[in-house]
Symmetry: C2
Subunit: 342 residues, 2 copies
């Protein structure tokens, strides 16, 4: 039965110039793989797409982490999958796993880079969303880099997205006044009514972001968790308090830029404010992943934290879902549901 | 005798446009002051001038710290002085003090903002140089913000100046490979031969700073202590290591800029490198000043640290000494000797 089912993959057909489009991707029919010794056969269930992947699609030599996508090879991203055939007794048939997997409906794998998902902790899709890189980025970026203190003012950009929505709620849990920046009235409603964020700013309806930040942050800005960059960074930075922390998590405004973008140099203000701009990648905190996942699951299960996945159905829609990230349309973590677990 | 001596002051005659010039200052003859109850009469001995003062000369409303200089009022800067007449028994005649004092040969003062100088700790002029703001900025900026570890590569710009020369030597004392950037062959010789800095880069003789940094820092840059900013920052930042720290101490390249200068946005690289750009002012560490002064004096007295004051003689030469800071000519801390202590 399974061997009769068609297998598909999506490869990088062309390096994007600027924003990615459909023609950068190609859907191909491929053979069902044959599992070798010690390997497992996986069925993709939930595929996660993230803006940061855009950088791996550029032409050029690979980065140190081996992240670059090769032309005519399948794209990879964080995926939840199920073992449907196993030659490895430690990963029996039925096991739910996650890892950075190829965009293929079925694939054979060594289990080396797979992690088991505990279905009792939270819904399995959260292994690549709330309990995966997005949730961990929000957790460590906000708590370890931003370090918000009770009563401080925290601003989050991309606040309705997969990382921002968690970051904003974590700041609320620390007792902060939280301002979320997002790009539609629907998102602002979601932030205020569903997530309990204090003030929402719709940057698409705001002529003067500097003034909007000033009005929203009457005590200035202590922490900015930035998923966007560009002019929005500048507007928030203009209201930096002394000893403020600017956490650089993502720069979606810049991912598609062909040249390094220019902006006002922040150094002079960094001195005046004794302020700090700091970037991070979530793997900096690998040793603390398990404790963070447990805390995030606890907040989720006790309704202290809400999480929305923006779920698109169908393997062939993965490129559209990825492209949509750069249109600013998504509320919550963008995911593609490829199949139900058996 | 003293009352017959002429008194002089130097006032801000015009707000500078760009670099300061002689016409921004005016030397005036004034009366010898009469000391009131609880006050002291001070004689200026050593006046310190720093690039950061330039920012206080601009037109516009005062900053929070009350630092702005008023037109037609005397400039103030860190000065070592001697009590030559006293109505306050806690500051008897002969006491050496330092504080932010007016550019006046003689002045009457409440003792409220004066600190006593311990002549046994180190030469008294160091109260406003090595053991004053410049030395403390180097100490806390390098150790508390940069936090260099044994074996790391540390770059210092303005490395022959009053702050940079200390910062560079403190990094050497931590067991680092230290690269100093300065603007003349004489300064490079001083860095290498007098201070024991590993590699000197004369930016005025370097066509391609990025390449010069790459050649000098074969293991990349872990800490950059920046007194200059602008293109030099960009060149060093291009070779940032993972978890590198960019300490923003001064931005002499920008102090005279009328508009906020533009440059490449650092955010994308901050993420890739998990790096940090952080500003500070020395008063952030006020609680630790005494311990730092003791440590700096100990290094000086045991010859582990060398310190050069660039001493110009004569009260009337204070403006020239200040203007000279922006010509990049000074080796060591720029000071003006006004008088000998009695």
């Amino acid at each position: 039965m399974k061997n009769k089912e068609e297998n598909k993959e999506i490869v990088l057909a062309k390096h994007p110039q600027g924003k990615p489009t459909q023609e950068n991707f190609q859907l191909k029919t491929i053979d069902m793989p044959k599992v070798k010794d010690d390997e497992v056969l996986l069925k993709s269930l939930y595929v996660s797409v993230d803006p940061g992947m855009r950088g791996f699609m550029d032409k050029g030599k690979d980065d140190a982490a081996g992240n670059k996508f090769e032309l005519h090879q399948p794209i990879t991203s964080r995926t939840v999958a199920q073992v449907i055939k196993s030659n490895n007794p430690e990963f029996p048939k039925g096991t739910i796993v996650h890892g950075r997997l190829a965009w293929q409906k079925y694939m054979r794998m060594s289990t080396k880079n797979l992690e088991k998902v505990d279905p009792d902790l939270a819904p399995i899709s959260t292994a690549v969303s709330l309990l995966g890189i997005p949730g961990l980025a929000a957790y460590f970026g906000m708590l370890n880099i931003g370090n918000p203190q009770n009563g401080e003012t925290v601003v989050v950009s991309g606040a309705a997205g997969g990382v921002g929505s968690i970051a904003a709620q974590i700041a609320k849990l620390q007792g902060c006044q939280v301002i979320g920046i997002a790009g539609s009235e629907e998102k602002i409603d979601y932030l205020k009514n569903d997530l309990g964020i204090d003030i929402g700013i719709n940057y698409k309806k705001t002529d003067n972001m500097q003034k909007a930040i000033k009005d929203a942050c009457s005590d200035g800005v202590d922490v900015f968790f930035d998923n966007v960059g560009g002019d929005i960074f500048d507007a928030v930075f203009a209201h930096a308090n002394r000893h403020s922390r600017f956490v650089i998590c993502g720069q979606i405004a810049d991912y598609n830029a062909s040249n390094p973008p220019q902006g006002p140099r922040p150094q002079h203000d960094l001195i005046k404010k004794s302020a700090r701009i700091e970037g991070f990648v979530v793997y900096d905190f690998k040793a603390e992943f398990d404790a963070a996942k447990k805390q995030l699951a606890e907040w989720l299960n006790s309704n202290q934290l809400r999480y929305k996945e923006n779920l698109i159905e169908g393997f062939e829609n993965i490129p559209s879902a990825f492209i949509g990230l750069f249109e600013g349309e998504n509320i919550g973590k963008q995911m593609i549901k490829v199949a139900e677990p058996d």
